[in-house]
């Protein structure tokens, strides 16, 4: 009886090993990338876990074109895996929380966030605030807002974009 390995294409035997070695070599960079992605944001998945998951997936992805650069592929896969973790954590926050439980009342964080949002909204110009609230709270379309304010739709989008930038700003004194 012939050795089954002998029937296989030597390229097939070499590829997984090579891919494994390449993945192992990419691991530190992938981890650094995931740590940059996680930043200081709270409640995000552990970069180590995501890196492990991405590398395991990549190793199992037998049809991966070895001629392709591995780094960009891994980063895209890492972003997807990371954001999938975030989305799952949003749906089931209690099952993915690994840090020690917060001692403060749970409503406090939301209250602080609301205060921040109220403050940031107050700092917006009247038109930007009105458009932001009209679009995101009242669910009005850009076309409706443009018509009501007598503005081109592109201008409404620009105002919305500026309002969102300011809404995304960190608060003085640090962001949780």
């Amino acid at each position: 009886m012939e050795d089954s390995a002998a029937l296989q294409d030597p390229e097939e035997l070499r590829e997984p090993r090579d891919l494994g070695e390449r993945l192992a070599a990419e691991r530190p960079a992938l981890l650094r990338f995931l740590r940059r992605l996680a930043g200081r944001a709270g409640g995000v998945p552990d970069p180590e876990d995501v890196a492990q998951e991405v590398l395991a997936r990549a190793l199992a992805y037998r049809s991966f074109d070895t001629a392709r650069a591995l780094g960009p592929w891994l980063r895209t896969a890492a972003v997807n895996a990371f954001l999938d973790h975030v989305a799952r954590a949003r749906r089931r926050p209690s099952t993915l929380r690994v840090e020690p439980p917060d001692e403060s009342p749970p409503s406090r964080a939301t209250l602080d966030d609301r205060e921040h949002v109220a403050l940031l909204l107050a700092r917006l110009g009247p038109l930007e605030r009105e458009l932001l609230i009209g679009f995101h709270r009242e669910g009005r379309s850009i076309a409706e807002l443009a018509r009501d304010h007598g503005l081109p739709e592109g201008t409404v989008k620009s105002h919305l974009s500026r309002a969102r930038r300011r809404l995304a700003q960190e608060m003085p004194g640090g962001e949780r």
Binding site: L37, A38, A41, R75, A78, V79, I133, K157, R164, A168
Partner: protein, 160 residues
Amino acid sequence: MSPNAEAASRTESAVDAAVDRALDARRDPLADDAVRAALSLEPEAFERVARLSRRLELVAQPQRARGGVRAWSVAAGLVCAAGVAVLAAQLPARPTRAAAAAQITSFQMSVARHDGSSQAWTVNDNGRVTHERVASEAPTPEASAFELLLRRRAALLTRE
């Protein structure tokens, strides 16, 4: 602007532009392919995108939250008003001072004065009014009026 800062600005704009396109189309930016692709080039932008996403949720929700509080307040107010209305229907109309006194059938009252004297009136069940003065030669006008009221009520009770 340094080349690095310029590059960072360009990639930041790419993430922000992708986020804007997603939000304008009412898609979750964190689930949007273009945003994900941009984040793979500028992972530091994730924190900002996540923060914006969280804050936009709050922009969309406070009306509901405050509305909830208002709804509870209004509901509580209505329940209280209904309760008061029911109680008010069961209770007699708010008595005037005279009417309150007229409803007394058995009552004892004492008045302490500033000068240390006191007066006491007792109306018993059969309508008799007794008055007792302690260390005071004459009743005050208020005490006299009250005594008169009690005596009138006692007279009515006696006739009944």
